[in-house]
Assembly symmetry: C2
Homo-oligomer: 350 residues x 2
C-alpha cells in the first residue's frame, strides 16, 4: 500500500467503531518509546547521524514483511503531514520538525512507527474499542521483532532510556479515547477531570498533549512509566477505563430517564444540520458529530459509528484541504466540510 492511499482515506485502525465497550471507548493505543544504543537522542543528532538512525530503523522494519509503507516526512507536504496527525499516525510535534523524521505504517494502520521524533523510535499499536492488552501485546511483539535487529538504549536499573524522563522505564504510554457525551451533558465531567490526575492518569484532548477535548472526546493515559511493569500499567488503565465507562453509562441512563426528549431533540437536530447545512465550521462540526455519536451510542439513531468516525476525520482541516487539493479560504473550507459530511450521510441513504 502506498502512503498516498493512507492519506486519501478517512479510515484508520481506530475508525471501525467496533470492539469492546465501543459505546464509550472509541479506541485504545499502546505506544513504546525506544532509542538506539550508541546514538544521541534525536534532539541532539546531526543530520548525518539521524540519517544513519533512519537507515537502521528502516532496515529493521523490513523484517515485518510486506504490507507496510515507509515515508520520510520531508518528502510530504505540510498538508499531508497534517493528515497523518489527524489520523493519529504521527504526533503534532513530528509534524513541525520533519527533517530526518519518518513514518512506517502497516496497511491497516493498526501498527506504526515514528522515527526520529522525540525518541529514535516510537512504536504504536491502535485498535478500536477497549483493547488495552491487545494493543500492548501487539506493540511488545513488534518491539521484540525490532530488537532482533536493533540495539536499544537500556539499563537494568532504569529500563529503556528516553529523551524525556517521563518516558524512562517501560517507555510505555497506553491511552484510551473515550466519548464522554453523557458526563459532559450531565456536568459529571468536571469531577472526573479533577480525580483522574490523582490516580496517576493524564487527560488530554483528541490529539494528545495540549489539545482540547473537542467533540467530547477525552484521551486518558498513564503518567507513570517507571517502577511499574507493562502489565501493571495496562491493568491500571483498564481499571480506570472501566470505571469511567460505568460513570458515562450512568450519565446516559440519567439522560434517558430525566431528559429523554431533550436528548433526542439535540441528537436529531444535530443530524438534521449535518445532513443539510451548506456551511460548517470545524468546531461546530465536532460538536454536532458528538451529538450524533451520543445518539448512535444510546441507540437513538441508526447511523454506523464507522460513518461518524470517518466524518470526524473528513471534517478536520488537513484532510479537508487535501481532499480539495488546495489551500482553503474560510468560506470555502466551511462549504467543503458541509458538502463532504452531507454526501457521506447521503451515501448511507439517510
Amino acid at each position: 500500500m502506498q502512503i498516498e492511499e493512507h492519506l486519501g482515506s478517512p479510515r484508520s485502525a481506530w475508525t471501525s467503531g467496533r470492539g469492546e465497550m465501543a459505546d464509550v471507548v472509541v479506541s485504545s493505543r499502546s505506544r513504546l518509546a525506544r532509542n538506539l544504543e550508541g546514538f544521541a537522542f534525536p534532539g541532539r543528532l546531526t543530520s548525518e547521524i539521524a540519517t544513519q538512525v533512519l537507515g537502521r530503523v528502516q532496515g529493521a522494519v523490513q523484517g515485518f514483511g510486506s504490507g507496510w509503507s515507509f515515508v520520510k516526512l520531508s518528502e510530504l507536504s505540510a498538508v499531508d503531514r497534517q493528515v497523518l496527525v489527524e489520523k493519529h499516525l504521527i504526533s503534532p510535534q513530528q509534524m513541525q520538525a520533519p527533517e530526518q523524521a519518518a513514518l512506517a505504517v502497516r496497511d491497516d494502520e493498526g501498527l506504526s512507527l515514528m522515527v526520529n521524533e522525540e525518541d529514535h523510535l516510537r512504536l504504536q499499536a491502535f485498535r478500536p474499542g477497549l483493547a488495552v492488552r491487545e494493543t500492548l501485546d501487539e506493540a511488545l511483539r513488534a518491539d521484540d521483532q525490532l530488537e532482533e535487529t536493533l540495539d536499544y538504549a537500556f539499563t537494568p536499573e532504569l529500563g529503556y532510556l528516553t529523551a524525556c524522563p517521563t518516558n524512562v522505564g517501560t517507555g510505555l504510554r497506553i491511552s484510551v479515547m473515550l466519548h464522554l457525551g453523557g458526563l459532559v451533558r450531565t456536568r459529571g465531567i468536571a469531577q472526573l477531570l479533577q480525580v483522574l490526575p490523582k490516580l496517576g492518569l493524564a487527560v488530554r484532548g483528541l490529539y494528545g498533549e495540549g489539545t482540547e477535548a473537542a467533540g467530547d472526546l477525552f484521551q486518558i493515559s498513564n503518567q507513570i512509566t517507571l517502577g511499574q511493569t507493562e502489565e501493571e500499567v495496562a491493568a491500571a488503565i483498564e481499571r480506570a477505563a472501566q470505571q469511567i465507562i460505568d460513570q458515562e453509562r450512568a450519565a446516559r441512563r440519567m439522560l434517558k430517564e430525566q431528559a429523554l426528549q431533550q436528548t433526542q431533540d439535540r441528537v436529531y437536530r444535530a443530524f438534521g444540520v449535518l445532513r443539510y447545512a451548506q456551511l460548517l465550521g470545524g468546531e461546530e462540526a465536532m460538536q454536532l458529530l458528538s451529538e450524533l455519536r451520543l445518539g448512535v451510542e444510546m441507540g437513538m439513531l441508526q447511523v454506523s459509528p464507522e460513518v461518524v468516525n470517518e466524518m470526524l476525520v473528513t471534517a478536520l482541516p488537513g484532510f479537508l484541504t487535501r481532499t480539495m487539493g488546495h489551500d482553503l479560504q474560510t468560506l470555502e473550507e466551511r462549504a467543503a466540510r458541509a458538502r463532504l459530511i452531507r454526501e457521506r450521510l447521503q451515501k448511507e441513504g439517510i
Copy 2:
C-alpha cells in the same frame, strides 16, 4: 360543510401559496365594517338586542345559499375560537367576547362574516397572493347582496357608520400579508417600516393590530377610510404593495449576489431542523418556517408554499392544542409541534 371541518384543517383560502406575486405576497384581504340601522353598536347592546342582530344577519347570510357554515362563538371552546383566529376567520378581540358573537364562513374560507364583534358585521374576503381588487370586488358583491335584506347605518355625509371612528366612511380595510425575509436579512426593513405610516399605511404582524411580525410576515393596510373611495384605497394598497415587492425582490437579489452560500446554509439548516427536531418552540418554528419560505420563494428548495403555510398554521398553539385534544404542557406542546411538522415534511417525501 360543518365548522368542525374548518377547525380540523390547516387549509384556508390564503394557504394555497398560489396567486399573483406569490413569491412575496402570502395573501390579500378586504374587510368591510357594517352596522344595522336602528341598533346600538355591539359595545352598547343588551344581550337581548344582540340576539336580534344575530338573527337578522343569520337570515341575510342564508341568501348566500348553501356551502356556508354559521356558528355562535359561545358554542365553541376557547381553543376552537383560538383556531379561528389562527386561520384569520375571527379577530383576537372577538375571541375574548364571544357571548353574542358569531361567524359565518363559506366552505373555502375565502369569504366570511364576523357578527357582533366591534361592529355588527364585518365581512371579509380572502385570497392568496396579490389580489386586492378581486377581494374588494368579492366583498362588495357580498355586501350588496346582504344589503338587499339588511338596512345599514349610513349617512350621505359620513358614509357607513362604525363603532370606531377610524372605520367610518367606506368601512373598508384592505390588507396584504407580505413575507419580507429578504428585507429583514439585509436590514432594509427598518427604513420601510418608518416610511409606510407616512404614506397612510399601517404595518402589523401576522394577526393584525398589536401582534408582532413573527416569521418575517408583515401585514400592510390602509389607515384611512374616510374621504377616499374604495377604488382609491385599493389602488393605494396595490401601489404600495408593488413597491414593497420590488424592494423585497431587490433585497433577495442582493442576498443571492453577496451572500448566496450563507443564505442557502440558513435555508437548508432550517429545513434540517424542521425535518428532524423532536422539540420545537413556537417562536423558533416561525423563524425556521420563514427561512424555509425564503428558500422556497428564492427557488433554492423544492417545497410547495402550500406546505409551508399549512405547517405555519399547524405550529400555532390553538391548532396544536386542538389536534392533540387536550391542554398541553410546554414540553408536550414543543414535542407535538415538532412531530406534526416532521410528519408533514415526511408526507411530502422530503
